[in-house]
Each structure stands twice: as C-alpha cells, then as structure tokens.
Symmetry: none
Subunit: 225 residues, 2 copies
C-alpha cells in the first residue's frame, strides 16, 4: 500500500511536531499547517488522505475551515478528525454537523490518536472500494485476497513474497534497487540486510517460475515487461 498522507492543522507548534513525530513513526506522510487558511491551501495542493483539524485557531478556525473543505468538490470526500481542547458540547456537535468524521479531545493520547485515525481510514476505504488487483502477463495478483492466480492454479505466497511481487508487478518494467525495495515493501525504518531481497526473489521464482522477475545486474530487480 502506498504511504498515506495526513494533514495536521493546529496552531500549537509543539503539538504539531509531536503529532508529526508519532504519525511518521507509524508510517504516514505528514503535512502541517498552522491555521485554517493555510490548511485549506495545503489540502488543495496535496490532497491528503485525512485531515486532523484543531477547532480553536487564529485566523480561520477549524469549523470554518471544514466548511470550506466540505464545499470544495476536490476536497469534500477527505475524512476529517477534529481536535478539541475541551469536550465542550457545543463545539463538538457543531463539528460533527458540518462534516467531521470523528473528534478527539486534548490532551491527546498517542495510541488513541493513531487508532482513531486508522479506524476512520478503514471506514472510508470500504466506501472507496479500490481495486487492489493487478493483471500482468498470465498472472492475476489479487491483494484483497492475497493470492496469485495463473490459469486455474492458485498460489498462496507468504506476506513478504506477495508484497514484493505486488510492488514490482505494479511497476512493471521499472528497475528498483534492493534498498528501494526494502523501503517500499519492508518499510522505512527497518533494518535488514539487502541480500534478503534476493532470497525472497528466489522463493517467488521457485513458485511461479523464473520468467516474471528479472535481475538487472549491478542495479536491482524488475518485473518483466
């Protein structure tokens, strides 16, 4: 899965940094804005997958900002989670009414924040109904089911093998060096020896045959075009 981007809008810089740190640790890309106006601008430019919005801010407050977002065709579908200083009833409700998808009261527990974010994203994914299904050569690589199909054979690859294959297949023809593969498939802050990739490639070849993943000596691997 491609990295997901979260836009955090809050006027407290410290909090912004703290949230950024935690979200990045969880593997999200993070964008920051310090007020509603800036938030909208950045949202338009980058189309984040989710917005974390403080309600009380100078210049343009969160509620105002969300109204704008919800009336912008390009942005209206983005899920929004509110941050509120106190669980003051009125704000809370107003927020849900204009189209927030959840709200969290400060002070924020990191785990809670993360799990809320993931919950909201999941709720949205089902609605979006993406097709995670690649068809390349004589293979069907179905990520929803985590299986690879060829003719009427069905292969159950282990997770890493599957994801590696999926990544390469989704970029058919493009060479990726081992380090890139590790970053994309294993994750950024993971420490493993890059020869590990070789082993996985070999296992894939063992199961599906040699003719899908090609070696580019001195560079890396690529899915055959």
């Amino acid at each position: 899965m491609a990295k997901q981007t979260i836009l955090v809008v809050d006027d407290e810089k410290d909090l912004l940094d703290l949230i950024e740190y935690n979200l990045k640790k969880e593997g999200f890309d993070v964008l920051k804005a310090e007020n509603g106006e800036e938030g909208i601008k950045i949202a338009k430019e980058h189309n984040p997958d989710l917005i974390l919005m403080d309600i009380m801010m100078p210049k343009m407050d969160g509620l105002e900002a969300v109204k704008h977002i919800r009336s912008d065709d390009d942005l209206k579908a983005i899920p929004i989670i509110f941050l509120t200083a106190r669980s003051d009833e009125k704000t809370e409700v107003e927020g849900l009414d204009i189209g927030g998808d959840d709200y969290i009261t400060k002070p924020i527990s990191t785990t809670k924040l993360i799990s809320r974010i993931k919950a909201v994203m999941r709720r949205f994914e089902e609605t979006t109904e993406e097709v995670n299904r690649l068809e390349v050569h004589d293979l069907v690589i179905d990520k929803d089911r985590y299986i690879v199909i060829r003719g009427d054979e069905e292969f159950q690859l282990p997770r890493k093998e599957f994801e590696l294959l999926y990544y390469l297949a989704s970029r058919k023809g493009k060479v990726r060096d081992r380090q890139t593969l590790l970053n994309k498939v294993w994750g950024d802050n993971i420490y493993v020896v890059d020869r590990t990739v070789d082993v996985h490639v070999r296992k894939i070849r063992e199961k599906l045959g040699d003719h899908y993943i090609e070696t580019v000596k001195g560079v890396g691997y690529r899915f055959k075009e």
Copy 2:
C-alpha cells in the same frame, strides 16, 4: 427519502413534548412513550427509524428496554440514542455496551440533539441495506434467526462468533486483518486485544469445521472462496 420516524421514550412529559416539538420542526415523525415497557410495545408496532431512550425511568428503565430491543430480531437493527441525567461514566459505558449507538446528557441542547440524531442516522444508512441471509458453500447463514444451517444440521453460534462468521462470509474471499474485524464486528471504539479474534475463529472452526475460515499469516483471516 420518506419521513423518518423517531420514537422518544422518557418519563418527563414536558421534556417529551419539547423534544417532539423540535423533532417535528425538523421534519421527523415522532412517537412517544413514557416508560420502557410502553416503548417496546410502540417500537414493535411502528418500527421507528431511531429510538431516543431515557435511561432512568419507572417501570422498566432504559437499559433494560434496550436489552429487550437488541434481542428482538425485528427491532435489533434500530439505532438507539440514550439520554442520561448525569454523565456518570459507568452508565454511559453500560449503555454503549448493550447496544446504544450514542448517548446525550441532559439538559439537552436542541441543536445538539438534532445533529446527533442525524449523525447516527448517517452512520446507519451506510451500514444498513444488508441481505440477512447468506448462502455460501454448504452453509446457510441466517442473520434474521442468528442460526447457521448445513444440510439438516443447525448451529446456534453465540453472538460474536455468529457475527464474525457473517462478516467474513459476506466478504467471501477477501482478507481482513484483526483490527478491521474488531472494528466491524465488535465496534469502533471498543478496546479488546486483537488476539480475541483468534479465539473466536477457533471456536467457529471447532463447531463448523476448519474448512471455512482460512488464515493468511501476517495478514488476517478470510472466508474460503
């Protein structure tokens, strides 16, 4: 969309009238009941789209009433919002636990009430519209009766097991990770260890056999295709 009907159950007549007035102004049809017992009776007769239920009432209190509603096949799908006099956490939690979908503390702000109602309804619209009877492989999973049938065997699975099976079966072939399963079957803001899913899967397998739910290591579970 047709006018939506809301059943309000509260023993304070004045409040009942006030709420009625406001809901009607918003375009809802309103039914009233003054205690849990009466509430259930009216619910069965009219099948409202949502129930607003006071917790503290004479005769049969709200929690009790909701338990009945949740165990009545015709009524169990109706969203319920609790009204509580105090934001006593325990009652609050208990309420959500037996199947309330939201709760509001008195005194009630009208705007807040309305927007909560709308929010809950929105949430339900997305979820509803399910077929209540699945036929997969040699199984019939009947959600109306909470029963699984194979040939002339009939299995009475406990609630969680049933719902987990139902969820997976209704997405035959698609892998779901534990967290997603928890969110979908247990509910969003429920905190349970994700290994709980394993145990329930095991119990289902114990009763129906191993060949329905497949494990995808490192990912989650899926109903066999």
